[in-house]
């Protein structure tokens, strides 16, 4: 399985859960519930973003250069989503902030599905994309406290 396939599948789960969060906002769920659901999505999305930031994104920077417009845009989207996550936390699940979080994360994921992953599959070797998705290897490195070593393999 290529890392882009894994990330796309995960996006599918998050996009569906964003619909649930949006529905809960519309139904008048409590702020505590909205915050908890946001945190539920964040709990898995942060791990997902770390894989992108530590493995896929640096590998693409190596190929395309750090100023490649799409990479700059995706980096800005990651920062915006992180900022909105903090805002939702600080606002205690305030409805308008949760709506903005939903919109920002949805837009970011659609951008990656339709642009970043397409670019990765066009410019990167399929074997490399598959190796980046080796759960077993990643797990062994992580358990040995050497997760960064696993990520750095793609940057040398």
């Amino acid at each position: 399985m290529k890392i882009t396939d894994r990330l796309k599948v995960e996006h599918g789960v998050f996009l569906q859960q964003l619909k649930v969060l949006e529905r809960l906002v519309g139904e008048g769920a409590s702020r505590e519930a909205l915050l908890a659901v946001t945190e539920t999505i964040v709990a898995a999305e942060q791990h997902h973003s770390r894989i992108e930031d530590r493995v896929l994104y640096p590998a693409l920077v190596k190929v395309l250069g750090p100023q490649f417009p799409l990479l700059v845009e995706i980096r800005a989207q990651h920062d915006a989503v992180r900022q909105l996550t903090d805002d939702v936390r600080r606002g205690g699940g305030e409805r308008a902030l949760v709506r903005r979080y939903v919109e920002a994360l949805r837009h970011h994921m659609e951008s990656e599905i339709h642009s970043l992953f397409v670019l990765a599959e066009e410019y990167m070797d399929e074997d490399d994309l598959e190796s980046m998705c080796s759960w077993d290897e990643e797990h062994v490195y992580a358990e040995a406290g050497r997760g960064q070593v696993w990520a750095d393999r793609w940057l040398s």
């Binding site: 399985m1 290529k2 599948v9 859960q17 769920a29 409590s30 908890a36 539920t40 709990a43």
Partner: protein, 143 residues
């Protein structure tokens, strides 16, 4: 992409989120908070199982027989999870129900990894399965 890779990736997300739900339960979260989080996780799981039942389980049933124990258990898990989701969505959600949901879903995901996915990888023809699954998911996405 193999169908089992897709399902494993979905399960990994859900497993991480179950840990979060467990922390909320242990931290004494209110019933409406637990119900909202259960609904969020259950929605993803049900989408996964709705695609799994008519394709994977029925394909394996044709090879191994519909009464094959692992297939029966997986289908029973799906029914149990749907019942729990429905009960909690109708306002009948407390700490005990949320704990049962965590336990049943976690055991189910482990059962899939241990019993179902190896059977699929071994017995089900990859090309036909990927095609039918992709078609179904595409139709779902358009809906």
């Amino acid at each position: 992409m193999r169908i089992t890779d897709r399902l494993r990736a979905q399960n990994d997300v859900v497993l991480q989120q179950l840990e979060h739900l467990e922390r909320l339960i242990n931290g004494g979260a209110a019933a409406d908070v637990l119900a909202a989080v259960v609904e969020t996780i259950a929605a993803a799981e049900e989408e996964h199982s709705v695609n799994e039942e008519p394709i994977l389980i029925s394909a394996l049933g044709r090879v191994l027989g519909p009464g094959y124990p692992a297939l029966r258990e997986i289908s029973e898990d799906h029914r149990h999870l749907r019942r729990l989701r429905s009960q909690m969505a109708s306002g009948d959600c407390d700490v005990l129900q949320a704990r049962v949901f965590v336990e049943v879903l976690r055991a189910h995901l482990q059962r899939e990894a241990r019993d179902l996915f190896p059977l699929v990888d071994r017995w089900v023809e990859r090309a036909a399965l990927s095609e039918s699954f992709d078609e179904r998911v595409d139709v779902g996405a358009r809906d």
